[in-house]
């Protein structure tokens, strides 16, 4: 994570440099977009969500106390946005046609398809993505932050406001849950 560059940009942005905001977006958009995509799965929603996250960054930058903590602050803000959006979409039945959302059903197989055939038909990464998106929010978050965003346990602990031990045990549970959803495809 380019901490120093981010801190400099945050400082410049606070001093009125509009371009610094654009550069901050450029620096983090890939991470934030993929985080959002991992959370809500659907691309248009992910884009909209990522945009809302940066709009909030723009508006609330003065609430950030320590410029060197921009990354953690951004992720916290992003997680809140993701949770809210997820709840909203869920209430609207956005995930209801995706049986993956139900912890018990395992992967969504089209009728008559064997796991092997399905595995051949769909590409692996899509399956993995779907399985991640289908996890319960608390499980999904640690997987996204650790295995996809490659953040350290310290960083995750700060972002989620949980002790490191809790982060680790949550992560282990989340990985086991993911394994149970995907093991038929191995």
């Amino acid at each position: 994570m380019p901490y120093q560059e981010a801190a400099q940009l945050v400082r410049a942005f606070r001093q009125g440099d509009q371009q610094a905001f654009n550069r901050l977006v450029a620096l983090y958009q890939r991470k934030i977009y993929n985080l959002a995509l991992g959370y809500v799965k659907q691309e248009d929603e992910a884009k909209d969500l990522a945009q809302d996250i940066f709009v909030t960054v723009f508006r609330q930058i003065d609430k950030l106390k320590d410029e060197s903590k921009f990354g953690a602050w951004l992720y916290q803000l992003a997680m809140n946005h993701c949770r809210n959006r997820y709840q909203k979409l869920r209430r609207r039945g956005f995930f209801s046609n995706q049986s993956l959302d139900d912890t018990e059903t395992g992967l969504n197989l089209s009728s008559g398809a064997t796991p092997e055939k399905e595995y051949e038909r769909q590409n692996t990464s899509r399956l993995v993505r779907e399985a991640i998106a289908s996890l319960a929010p608390a499980e999904k978050e640690v997987i996204l932050l650790r295995d996809l965003q490659e953040l350290s346990y310290e960083e995750i602990s700060e972002i989620l406001g949980l002790p490191m031990g809790t982060v680790k045990s949550k992560l282990n549970r989340a990985r086991l849950a993911l394994k149970n959803r995907l093991k038929h495809f191995l």
Binding site: R30, K31, A50, Q51, F58, S125, L148, L176, K179, K183
Partner: protein, 269 residues
Amino acid sequence: MQCTEAQTLFTDFADNTLGREELHVLTDHLLGCQTCAKEWREFQQILSLVRNLETQTPPADLLPGIHAKLAQRGIFDRAWALVKSLNFSLSIPAAATIFTLAMLAGFLLKTSPLEPPAALSSRPARISAKSHGEVLTPRRLPIAPNTMFAVSHDGGSRNELLASLAQTAPTTRRPAADHTPRLLSPDIHVLIEKIDHESQVVLCREIVRHNWQLHRITANLFLVHLPQAELGNFHELLGRHHYALAPAAAAEARFGYGKTVLTAAIRFE
């Protein structure tokens, strides 16, 4: 060691962070328990699948979309909603004008879109400072979302334009010593109703002809920077249209006297 206990150690095992003792007990269990050995193999496979997922490239219109959202939901619209809610063709009592300005300035200063406007009306001191061209908030520098959408018609480089816009005054007219950061909030709000596209273009051309700096914020929202001394000419231009002004005092040529440059936001409806 129980199977469930063994499996709680998988992440530590994968991270290579198990203590000597635990490592010993776990490997012993895995050697003796086929179920857990299989679980561990699958765990590793899944982990490598997840870690090898490629990140997706964000859509190219992500940043423009952020700009659009800032413009759409931004302070301008909120300010305009307030302007529109009052009928400016009637004369507004001075107190009400100050209140409205306080609301507008409050909105233009807000970072959080969620705070109720009521909390903003108690800042008349700031407003009187504003009308004398002083810095509104020394700490918070101009980061009004609208500044990012500035497009000029004078052909200067983008960075210069943004910088000059952030300083409120046009580059060519700004006194060299004036490096005081100023909040980019319009001094005057103009609402022009029932205007067709052609007349809009004519008005914009006139503004440019007067050598006033013109910035297009959105299709129907423009910012104009003009010398205070030329406010009378500005009124003359507006007089050809059906328009409303806020604050009411801006209808007088000496409005903003003491300031070198005034910023007017023009909204076409």
